[in-house]
Amino acid sequence: MFDLKDVGFRTEGKAAKTLLSDISVSFPTQAFSAIVGHNGSGKSTLLKILARKYRQFSGDIHMGEKALTDHSIRDFARKVAYLPQNPTVPPHLSVRELVGFGRYPWRGAFGRYRPVDFEKIDRAMTLTHIENFADRLVASLSGGERQRVWLAMLLAQDAPILLLDEPTSALDVGHQRDILHLVSDLKNTIGLTVIAVLHDIDMVGRFADHILALRHGQTCWQGDARNFMQAGTLQKIYDADIGVIAVPQSNISISYIA
């Protein structure tokens, strides 16, 4: 879905720093891609470039047939839903109202919400298990609950592409699994393209189809989950002693710190 060619990014100002250089990668359509790497490796920056939050990148990015920058704002919002790492929480909105804003790209400033919109809002809340606090203020929820509310808003947005910046960072293991499971389910059933920045190696190995590993702003490794869950690969990416055990009678591997 996204095709990147020689993409680089420098910060502006006096102490300009190169955050990304020479990234060439194709994120496959209708697949779950994960971006991994050490802290400060440029993962979030890359995702923000894809979400058009940073516009001064060098190189060439295509989304579908057109260049990334050629889509109109509304058109882009209908195709791409983006969840930042720390979204601003409006202090006065209830959960249902916030999720309702997912329909904004489709209805705009003045269009009336139709029954189909309310159905999509309800469905998004059901999928993310947040119906129980639909009428509470978002600001009064815990970090993990909020993360699910934001995800619900993205689902209500009904875009074929999801960009998620650490969508599970505040979640307990159960909800991490639920959310990633949900996302990869949606990928299989309705053909979503998902690109997520993730930290948990085992979750990446379990759910991702395609993995891009960054190191100091450069591509360090890319490939599929089976090849990712190898001690050699992980040691190279994270520069730490990591071992991998294959769980008997399954195709799951787990990593551990050696």
Partner: protein, 666 residues
């Protein structure tokens, strides 16, 4: 900045001392050439005008400038350290305005026998103002911000009170203006000898307390656990700082921004310990004002034009403060404002409350028109049939009351838009300086370019307001972060307004009275066609913003999120800000820049539970209209037959509201 403070000290102080000495030599040059310098300095030849002028005007003026600059900078440094707030200073925390009001009242009202007590009276004025500011700000989650906000509110309020007072005592007007504008001109050594001992005493006492000051700078808890009697120390040092400020203001009037800019800049350069900070403040503050005054003196000779130093200092100082504080990044983080929202309001829509507010507005309108007070405070009832007589009293009243209501609504919408789009519950047209810029544009057009037509002025004012907002948007990139910058901007523009008004008033003569009462926000000059025009503009813009309530709500989620959901945020923001500026401008023309309705109405509406953009707008409109209606009635009847300015009464209500709010929190 890689230079170490030690080097900075030497370089900076040497530079300033050199410049100051050079300026004195420049003044002395003609006497040095014919070797009468010694004579001019100490024993002027009474037959030579130039020597007399130098000895009795230039020299005391130079000494005065140094003393005032030094004193204000030291007082500012101490106050900043105590409040741990780089924006605190005698002038920003209302001390100056308090002293000004107290002194004006004292000069006009007090019998000569009370003259020895002038110091105590003015000191009390300054301390009371500071106390009120402190009361409003203390106990809030982000006291840094509230302190400055409260300072601005109290400042504006006291200023307008001073102006009202002068309105009723017009015979003293001109001399009070000159004094209020910070005029350093001297005709003898009297003021110098009056000021010198007070300053020396105050400054020595402050220097004696540098160690406690350092401990206070660590924070109350730490200071307490180190065994310092925090409350008493703070009170003692503040009293000394206010005393120094009071003495200076009594002697020469308001001189803004030296007390703010000098210590703030020095701290930015790395002077963190109180001792070095205060010592350098003394030196640099004194030299700066001396130099500014020297430069101004070069202009004042031509044509006898008077350009008061204090007002000019504010003109130079205000932009400088913006620049230095932006660079210094000494502002605390802007995230704290979230805590100001209680997360406990219910989600139910407030139709009932809305209906009640509307009913109150209608009934209040009828009552405020028909009921009034006479000279003996007896209630007079005017029957509705009066409406059909010639020269109807009700018709006249209706005009003014409607003007107030319309302005209340316009300011409420303007404030709601600025607060929502700016993500800042404390922003408002008055606080961000939009109202001030509007007034500024109008005054300049009126006094210097001779515009008379109120329609022209309204247009010019609107342009001024929009320019101010655009500058604001440019300064606070994206408008999203740091509510401080908004306040800073408002502070600067308001200060500039204050000094331009003062300069303009000393020039304008006959228009002065009208200007003052307009600045204080009177509805007296309002005409019905203007009311209708403003009401029409307000109605159209309100309707448009109500239609745009969905994107308005979306804008509160931040720029990134809004764009992700397909809203072209920059254009939308610009449009909303334009609407806010236009509304602020048109209402400023009717009631002046002072009322705090634009701040108070959206604030109250949110607390009352009007949550979503549409309801918030309507709630704020109803509250704003109600407040202005009440203010207008009070202004008309409180001191009948004297007519008080509506804006001032509204501001009084606003200040009272914030005081009550802070009292309830404690």
């Amino acid at each position: 900045m890689i230079m170490r403070p030690a080097h900075v000290t030497i370089v900076v102080s040497a530079l300033f001392i050199l410049l100051a000495v050079a300026s004195i030599f420049a003044d002395l040059l003609p006497f040095l050439q014919n070797s009468t310098a010694w004579q001019a300095l100490f024993k002027p030849d009474e037959t030579r005008f130039d020597q007399i002028f130098f000895h009795f005007s230039t020299l005391p003026r130079t000494v005065m400038a140094f003393m005032c600059g030094a004193g204000l900078a030291v007082a500012g440094g101490a106050i900043q350290t105590i409040f741990r707030n780089p924006l605190a200073s005698p002038t920003t925390l209302g001390v100056g305005a308090g002293v000004e009001l107290a002194l004006t009242i004292f000069l006009v009202m007090a019998p000569a026998s009370l003259a020895p007590y002038q110091d105590i009276f003015t000191l009390t004025g300054g301390m009371v103002a500071l106390g009120v500011v402190y009361l409003i700000a203390s106990g809030r989650s982000n006291a840094t911000l509230w302190l400055i906000l409260a300072g601005m509110i109290v400042n504006l309020l006291l200023h307008s009170a001073t102006q009202i007072f002068m309105l009723f005592h017009q015979q003293y007007l001109d001399s009070i203006f000159m004094w209020g504008a910070g005029d350093l001109a001297q005709n003898g050594w009297d003021s110098t000898f009056y000021l010198a001992p007070r300053l020396v005493l105050g400054i020595i006492a402050i220097f004696a307390l540098v160690r406690p000051l350092d401990i206070l700078a660590l924070g109350d808890d730490t200071a307490n656990s180190l065994g310092a009697p925090v409350k008493w120390l703070r009170l003692a040092i503040l009293t000394l700082a206010v005393f120094v400020t009071t003495s200076i203001i009594s002697a020469v009037g308001m001189i803004g921004f030296i007390g703010l800019a000098v210590p703030a800049t020095l701290r930015f350069l790395g002077f963190n310990r109180s001792k070095s900070l205060l010592a350098m403040s003394l030196l640099i503050g004194g030299c700066s004002l001396l130099l500014i005054d020297y430069v101004l003196r070069q202009f004042s000779g031509t044509g006898g034009d008077i350009f008061p130093t204090g007002a000019a200092t504010a003109l130079i100082g205000a932009p400088f403060v913006i620049v230095i504080l932006r660079k210094a990044r000494i502002m605390p983080d802007g995230n704290a404002n979230r805590q100001d929202h209680p997360a406990d309001y219910s989600l139910a829509p407030k139709h009932m409350l809305m209906a009640v507010l509307f009913a109150v507005l209608l009934m209040g309108l009828a009552l405020s028109l028909m009921v009034s007070l006479n000279e003996q405070s007896q209630v007079i009832f005017t029957p509705i049939s009066d409406l059909f007589t010639l020269n109807s009293t009700l018709g006249d009243r209706a005009q003014r009351t409607l003007a107030a209501i319309v302005c209340g609504a316009a300011l409420a919408v303007s404030g709601t838009l600025i607060q929502r789009v700016g993500h800042n519950p404390m922003a408002s047209p008055e606080i961000t300086g939009v109202s001030s810029a509007t007034a500024l544009a109008m005054i300049i057009a009126m006094v210097y370019f001779g515009f008379e037509g109120r329609t022209d002025l309204m247009m010019i004012g609107a342009i001024g307001g929009i320019i101010a907002l655009l500058v604001l948007l440019g300064l606070c990139r994206n408008f999203t972060h740091a509510p401080h910058y908004l306040l800073l901007n408002g502070l600067a523009i308001t200060a500039i307004l204050g000094s331009v008004v003062r300069i303009a008033l000393t020039h304008s003569g006959t228009k002065a009275t009208m200007l003052i009462s307009w600045l204080a926000g009177t509805t007296y000059f309002t005409r019905m066609d203007e009311v209708i025009a403003v009401a029409f503009i307000t109605a159209v813009l309100t309707l448009l913003t109500l239609l745009a309530r969905r994107p308005l709500e979306l804008a509160s989620m931040g720029a990134d999120q809004a764009v992700s959901l397909g809203l072209g945020i920059s254009l939308f923001r610009l449009a909303m800000m334009m609407a806010a500026a236009i509304l602020a401008a048109v209402s400023t023309l009717l009631v002046g820049p002072l009322s705090f309705v634009g701040l108070m109405a959206p604030h109250l509406a949110r607390i009352a539970g009007f949550r979503l953009a549409g309801a918030h707008l309507i709630g704020a409109i109803l509250i704003g209209a109600n407040v202005m209606m009440v203010a207008e009635w009070l202004a008309r009847n409180m001191l009948y037959p004297q007519q008080l300015p509506t804006g001032l009464i509204a501001a009084l209500i606003g200040t009272a509201y914030f005081l009550i709010l802070s009292a309830r929190r404690q």
